[in-house]
Structure formats: structure tokens, C-alpha cells
């Protein structure tokens, strides 16, 4: 137990950073760290895609580990995933526009894609959970005090189980950009949070999907906590006109690749293909 501080800060104070710097300073910090990581990588260092110690994201200062993670051989329990199946989630849970009596405001979209492992194999019958702001950029969460309107016809949470080909489809509305108090005039690019269960507990990820061409990308510390542009690009969906339904919804495609590790490889069993 520790005696430095025995109670948590009041919830309303949690979202503002202590120094509240201007955007220009945050942008410079982001650029400096990206340059440093590029140098270290060019010198042969192996670096994870997401930076844990990333000061431009101010609330990470006291919440990132200071030691490198230990490389371990996974044990049995870590090589399996909690079991889900098509019957665990009702089909309607993947349509975020049908959860209330009326239609939510905003641009109706479908997000469609596949969940694959590093070997390109579909991740079938696994759970995806999503949550997002409404079209005005407001979350329904009680701690979100952004003075944009709530939408009585939109909650912003959905679930789906991938099919046998690893495919998923959500129908929702395009979320708005969202202001926060990391720094002065801080705005998050429009995004949808994704929680993904792979075929093994080691493969579990939580991440965020963005929309193509967002002008806020270069300014956002969370998007930029990923140091390589090629990796950041993997979080950005693609507008796909073939997924757009005439006079109904705009279509976006986004595939998710969950990482190995090597121990999650197994030889295909008879009948698998």
C-alpha cells in the first residue's frame, strides 16, 4: 500500500491536463518523439508499434510502465480465448441506428471488414465490441461534459460476432470530432472504439478506427501514440463506394489484423481450409 495519496481525484478534474499547453507545443512534442523513434529504429532497435511513454498524451504520464515487458512463453490459458458464438449476440446489436424509437441524427454509415491473424487466416466466431460519440461529437457517458447535444435516438454502443470468414458489419452513424482537455483547443479526430477478442487471450486488442482524410490527424496525441505512419494508416478505414447503399448509407471498409504470437500458430486440422 502507498501513502502518497489514498483517494482518487474527483471525477470532474480527471480530464484536464495540469499544464494545458497550446496545440503548437503538443504538435512539436509529437514530431520530436516520432523523429527520435525513427532514428532508434534506423539504428536497429526493435520498438513496439504503440508508444507507452508518450508525454503528448498528458494523462499517460503516470500511467505507463517504465520497464520493458517480459517476454514469456504463453501457458495453455493464454492460448485460448473466452468462447463466443453467433448466438451470444443478437443480430440487431450490430445496428446502432435501431436501438431507439426514432432514427439517430447524422450520416448513416456501414463499417465492414474482416478480422484476420498475422498469417492471413480469418478469425471466426469472435467478439467485437464498439462504442462511439454521436454525430455531434458527444458521448452518452456521464463524465462527458462537452456541450454538444445528446441524441435521444443514439446510444453509440454495439456488438457483433465475426462469421466463419472472419467478417463483421456494423450499421451506425458517423461520429463527430470530439473536444477534450489534453491541451488548448484539443480535438479528437472522429473515431470508433473497437474491442477485439482473437483466437487467444494474448491476441486481445482494444483500438480505434478513424475515417480517411481527417484534418485532425497530425494534431492528435492519441492517434500519434503510434510512431510509424504505416501503422497509423492501419487504423484508418477506407471509403468504399461498393459498400455504399444508394440513398441509404455510406460504406467504409476496415480490416483488423491481430498479432501472433508464434505459439498461436497450429497446423490446420483435417477439414479446415
Amino acid at each position: 500500500m502507498t501513502d502518497t495519496q489514498s483517494t482518487a481525484a474527483a471525477p470532474e478534474s480527471l480530464l484536464a491536463s495540469a499544464d494545458f499547453p497550446p496545440q503548437a507545443q503538443i504538435t512539436r512534442e509529437i514530431q520530436d518523439i516520432h523523429a527520435e523513434y525513427a532514428r532508434r529504429e534506423a539504428a536497429g532497435e526493435k520498438l513496439p508499434a504503440t508508444i507507452y511513454d508518450f508525454p503528448p498524451y498528458r494523462s499517460s504520464l503516470l500511467r505507463h510502465p517504465t520497464k520493458n515487458p517480459r517476454l514469456v512463453d504463453p501457458e495453455s490459458i493464454e492460448l485460448y480465448s473466452p468462447a463466443y458464438g453467433q448466438r451470444d449476440v443478437a443480430a440487431i446489436e450490430s445496428d446502432l441506428t435501431l436501438q431507439h424509437a426514432g432514427e439517430p441524427l447524422g450520416e448513416r454509415i456501414t463499417v465492414r471488414g474482416r478480422v484476420l491473424d498475422s498469417w492471413g487466416r480469418p478469425v471466426a466466431n469472435q467478439l467485437l465490441e464498439i462504442w462511439q460519440a454521436n454525430s455531434a461529437g458527444r458521448y452518452i457517458h456521464q463524465r462527458d461534459q462537452h456541450p454538444a447535444p445528446l441524441d435521444p435516438n443514439f446510444t453509440g454502443a454495439g456488438r457483433v460476432i465475426t462469421n466463419d470468414a472472419g467478417e463483421y458489419l456494423f450499421t451506425t452513424i458517423k461520429p463527430g470530432a470530439y473536444p477534450w482537455k489534453n491541451h488548448q483547443n484539443a480535438w479528437r479526430p472522429a473515431h470508433i472504439h473497437f474491442s477485439v477478442f482473437g483466437n487467444a487471450f494474448t491476441q486481445r486488442i482494444v483500438t480505434q478506427m478513424y475515417f480517411p482524410g481527417d484534418p485532425l490527424f497530425a494534431l492528435d496525441p492519441i492517434y500519434n501514440s503510434i510512431h510509424r505512419q504505416s501503422d497509423r494508416d492501419r487504423l484508418v478505414s477506407t471509403y468504399d463506394h461498393d459498400l455504399t447503399v444508394p440513398e441509404f448509407s455510406m460504406g467504409y471498409r476496415w480490416d483488423i489484423v491481430i498479432d501472433g504470437p508464434d505459439a498461436t500458430w497450429h497446423e490446420p486440422e483435417e477439414g479446415e481450409h
Partner: protein
Amino acid sequence: MPEKILQPTPGQTVGPFFAYGTVFPKMHEVVHPFSPGSIVLGGTVYDGNGAPIPDAIVEIFGADSDGSVPHARGTFRRDDHTFTGFGRSFTTDDGHYEFWTRNPGAEAGKAPFFAAIVFARGLPNKLHTRIYLPDAEQALAADPLLASLDADERASLVATRLADGSLQHDIHLQGAGETVFLTF
């Protein structure tokens, strides 16, 4: 093993507003409270100043008491007797997480543990760890991970058994007593 052909999607912070998107009924009741063999596993998640973190998620996945890996479905619709092994707990305003679960077993000679993942606002990506049961001293001594750690690091992965049978285990994301986190 064939070569990997796809680059993984990077992880991001769970952010501040995960509750309404990831909540489900009885999510921290891996077993029915007070049912035979049930125990409480709980603790506090701390930041680098030793302050509790009120907006973290702790997830556990554990073997059944006989060491078998659960494959049963039904986590979202708990029937109070099917053991799926998976639980999720949001920390309270005091940084506390809690599960009702069972003592996991393990294969012969191995040390039983809960596989655990921590997510939080301000934490740029997930963190994997393990919560070992403190009871089987021989198996703990033989565990390859624990054997590779110094005493403080080892202590950060082994829960404390309280007199009532429950398990107490704090998680420190940073600083004194920083929990050992894992990569595979």
C-alpha cells in the same frame, strides 16, 4: 511455421468513455457469488504517484479448478452455473476492481494463475500480466517466469491469500512496486 504475411493492427487507449460500450450483466461474476468454491479476487490499480486509477478495466481469464481451460459460452448471459472463465471489472472511484471466481487449477507441476489484461484511460495500449495463486510454493518456485524475476518483481505477480480465502492483488502501472507486464 509459415511466414507471417500481415502486419498487426496497433492497439490504442480504451479512453475515458468505455463503460457504456463494454458493460454486460454480471460481468465480474465469473461464478455466482457465495456459491461453493467461490472466492473474491480484488485489489486496487495504482498510477505512478500511488493514486488509485478510477477509470481502468481489469479482465481475467482463468482455468477451472481442475486446470481445464473453459470453452463454454454464455459470458454475456450468465446462468450462474456455467463456468466460462472470463470476467471484466471496471475500477471504482477508489481504483478498486473485484471478481467472484474460483481458484484456477493448473497442469501437474505448474503454478496456477489468472491471465489478466489491464486497460485504462491514459494507458496507450493494453497490458498483459498474470495473477498467481500464492499457495503452491513448489510450483511457484519452479515457474520459469517467476524464477527469472527478482523478489520485488515476483511479489508484483503473486496474490495474497486472506483469512477468508479471498485473494488480494494490487496492480501498479508505474513506480514503486511496478507490476511486471508481459509480452508473448
